[in-house]
Symmetry: C2
Amino acid sequence: MAGTMAEPARDVLYLKDLYVGRHFTSGTHALDEQQITAFAHEFDPQPFHIDREAAKGTLFRGLVASVWYTAAITMLLQVESGLPIAGGIVGLGGELAWPTATRPGDVLHVESEVTDVVPSRSRPDRGTVTVRSETRNQRDEVVQRTTVKLLVPRRSTTDGMQAG
Amino acid sequence: MAGTMAEPARDVLYLKDLYVGRHFTSGTHALDEQQITAFAHEFDPQPFHIDREAAKGTLFRGLVASVWYTAAITMLLQVESGLPIAGGIVGLGGELAWPTATRPGDVLHVESEVTDVVPSRSRPDRGTVTVRSETRNQRDEVVQRTTVKLLVPRRSTTDGMQAG
């Protein structure tokens, strides 16, 4: 997904650019059964994630993606088109919920909103920004709800924040 | 990792088997740079996850794994050797924190403890179990702290829980 000619360069954002209520919408990502089962074979090898026939007899009544695949695709969308934060998206932790299962054929995108901005007292070059996101499918159902704290640099330096 | 001869079959656990304070320890998983960068290229393509040289100039002072890779390996350890729950590990949501970065050469394992067990009032065949886990590296540093709610079947049926 590296830059195509049609894709405009995005400005990266610093702490001063992020205010409560600022909203971001990512691009989309379409899921197919092969992607879902390949991830599950590697990281979450349970019948409802790897075997279409076996999955029919489970709680899910069919093949569903690992929630960690939904989380990984959400991250991909945020990195590529969702949150253009200077120095990258550095998550410290947060809350996750998966109200609806993700299935083959789903087309996901992420809607995000800044809900808190706190400059660091001890480190003048950075702050913490809380972002609430919803990963939605093509029916606008929420497949993942995330509230995460991110480390954001205060101003431009060559590498975003000073190491250490 | 499907059953080798040396690997004893594990009993699967139902709601009645899970009580507050019950503890589980997973096997281990060793990480190398290739695994870390392969995951990041696919899901979290940021310099500090994909490029050893570029990573030196960042906050992390070197290559670190995507936190979603740490989460995925934690899930793998739970599925393979951590939490033998009947019907599989079905997560509803929870909290995550990543207090220490995961780096090439780290050997991870997961320590888990049941912190709450709530039979469902409306669905007599299931309940919700809260599990607090720490994913630790070879120096016993916590790289991921997780509190997650899991759906657990109350008793044996052919497929764990009734669909729907």
